[in-house]
């Protein structure tokens, strides 16, 4: 049963991933990404990590991709791009070589290595020795004790990036307005 679920979800995840890369329309690419995220959420469920599955949908599908779509719609980049021109000469050849090389290295590591994959233990085994507790409690236990500094540092990082984004967008607004000051004064008068 678990294998069947895995095969179906892996197919969805891979199809979504291919869709992200191959779709010509940015909105379709974002939707493919949602498909991938849903497939991964079911894979998490299959591993009995139900909290991670819920978070996967709430945070990634519910907030992050919605933000992608929001930006796509606001900036109006949802048109078909002209793909015949290469922005940087030789970019595509280089991308293909580096991509295939990385993929080859990963496969070579998988084939030759006799140690487990990094992270494999974390995915398939319980993260604490407290088996009797629910998934959520186990995560909370390690997150707020063992990894509390990493957790707080991440929170600080996110706050700094938000503040940084606000500050930078303010500066750009000022520079724009300095150039077109007479027009914007008229516009302010209309308010």
């Amino acid at each position: 049963m678990e294998t069947a679920v895995f095969i179906v979800c892996a197919a969805i995840v891979l199809a979504g991933a291919l869709g992200v890369v191959l779709a010509r329309n940015p909105v379709h690419a974002a939707l493919s990404l949602v498909g991938t995220l849903f497939g991964m959420a079911v894979l998490f469920l299959n591993l009995e990590a139900h909290f991670l599955a819920a978070v996967q949908i709430i945070v990634y599908a519910g907030a992050i991709v919605v933000l992608f779509l929001f930006v796509i719609m606001l900036l109006g980049v949802d048109r078909l791009e002209d793909l015949s021109v290469e922005p940087i000469t030789g970019q595509r050849v280089l991308a293909a070589i580096v991509g295939l090389g990385t993929f080859g290295l990963a496969v070579a590591f998988l084939v030759t290595s006799d140690i487990g994959l990094p992270g494999q233990e974390a995915l398939t085994g319980p993260i604490t020795d407290q088996y009797q507790y629910s998934n959520l409690r186990q995560i909370a236990d390690v997150l707020f004790t063992k990894y509390v500094y990493a957790f707080e540092a991440t929170a600080a990082l996110l706050t700094i990036s938000v503040v940084g984004a606000v500050v930078m967008s303010r500066r750009i607004a000022r520079a724009d307005q300095a150039q077109e000051a007479p027009e914007s004064q008229e516009a302010a008068g209309d308010d």
Partner: protein, 405 residues
């Protein structure tokens, strides 16, 4: 049969304790079928109820021709919509245009699956016996429980957003940008006020949340009222119902995100909207008003719970109609101010106050003092926030060109 599925996949329902056989599958299918039919009938009645009550409040009659009291009006409208021409705009993205209504409708159905609609919680642990099998009166009780509601309400954003974008027309696009910003903003307040309930219940499972509120111990007073008020406001915004219906502000945006939709696809949006109203009311009842809890006044064990649940549900459904009939629509900046500058800080602060009460209890401190100290800290922080907002407004007035107004 299906021995590979653990409790984490099937949920915490005692139905699956003895393994999954034919009887369990049939009972589950029955529950799904009943919930599905119940929701469809409820939506039909809800639309009629809303039109009738609004008619009364505006001193007119409302629908009164189809059936007794016009009760079949929705059915007639549904049949009419079904036979109307299905238009797909030339400029639209055809696949996404067809997909969007389903992205609105399916989450609306799924949320109801975690709502316990009945069961005797006063002494019977909420279990009922169906055909000789003990089970809960809810379609499913997944371990993530209430998080499913948040997940589905975040998926529902896609329906509105993609409908507006794929229509290939400017009014729907503006409406969908508004809608997604509104829904994402208020989801934060919704989640934070929900966290107060989770803190007190200590579980994500809806069944446990309800049984923790056994008979009169409702979360409404356990969490000291404020989280429920925040949840109700955020839920109204999340549902895009008046006074937060900027998504379909007729005066500004024609019909909002579904301007270009007609026929059965429009009906699906309409269905989803009213179904969301019903499921969200059911969630409020589950979280704050004890769900099917209440004194047993019938002789049949399970009947009392179901009656209590529907009585409480009707209260909120009426309140939603009432809000629509009485309140004018918010302006967009007022909407965002209310969400970000009032509801989110308030729900976060309230969560900390509740937590301080619990921590004081665990440590053996004086709970009253702990709460008063915490409230004082919160008041100081709120004062700083107000000062910062006032300073920012003052600077904007001095220099209107600085930054974005």
């Amino acid at each position: 049969m299906m021995a590979g599925l653990g409790p984490s996949v099937l949920g915490l329902d005692p139905l699956y304790d003895g393994g999954v056989g034919l009887a369990e599958v049939l009972i589950t299918l029955l529950k799904v079928g009943v919930a599905f039919a119940l929701l469809l009938v409820a939506v039909m009645l809800m639309i009629w109820f809303e039109r009738k009550v609004i008619g009364d409040m505006q001193n007119r009659i409302g629908p009164n021709l189809a059936g007794p009291f016009g009760i079949f009006q929705t059915l007639a409208d549904g049949i009419k919509l079904f036979f109307k021409e299905d238009l797909i705009p030339e400029q639209s993205d055809r696949f996404v245009f067809k997909l969007a209504p389903y992205l609105s409708l399916v989450p609306a159905f799924l949320v109801f699956a975690v709502v316990p609609v009945g069961g005797d919680f006063s002494g019977g642990n909420g279990r009922v016996t169906l055909f000789g099998h003990e089970t809960f009166l809810q379609v499913s009780d997944p371990p993530v429980g209430i998080l499913l509601v948040l997940a589905m309400s975040s998926v529902a954003v896609y329906g509105v957003m993609l409908a507006g974008w794929s229509s290939g027309s400017k009014y729907p696009l503006l409406a969908s940008v508004r809608a997604s910003a509104q829904m994402v903003s208020y989801e934060a307040a919704l989640g934070l006020s929900l966290a107060a309930v989770l803190l007190k219940s200590g579980s994500l499972s809806t069944h446990t949340i309800v049984s923790e509120q056994s008979v009169w111990n409702w979360n409404l007073w356990v969490t000291w009222v404020v989280p429920m008020v925040i949840f109700l406001i955020a839920a109204t915004a999340e549902l895009n119902r008046p006074p937060f219906d900027l998504v379909e502000a007729e005066q500004e945006l024609v019909g909002g995100f579904h301007t270009e939709y007609s026929s059965i696809r429009f009906a699906l949006f309409y269905l989803a909207e009213f179904m969301n109203t019903i499921t969200m009311s059911a969630i409020v009842v589950t979280l704050f008003l004890g769900g099917p809890n209440g004194p047993d006044f019938t002789t049949v064990g399970w009947l009392s719970g179901v009656l209590w649940f529907f009585a409480k549900l009707m209260l909120f459904l009426f309140a939603f109609v009432w809000l629509r009939a009485t309140l004018p629509r918010f302006r967009y900046d007022q909407l965002m101010d209310l969400g970000w500058k009032l509801l989110i800080p308030l729900s976060l602060g309230w969560l900390l106050v509740l937590a301080s009460y619990d921590v004081a209890g665990d440590r053996g401190w004086n709970r009253g003092v702990a709460v008063i100290v915490m409230l004082a800290i919160m008041a100081a922080l709120a004062g700083m926030l107000v000062l910062a907002l006032r300073a920012a407004r003052h600077r904007r007035e001095l220099d209107p060109q600085g930054g974005f107004a």
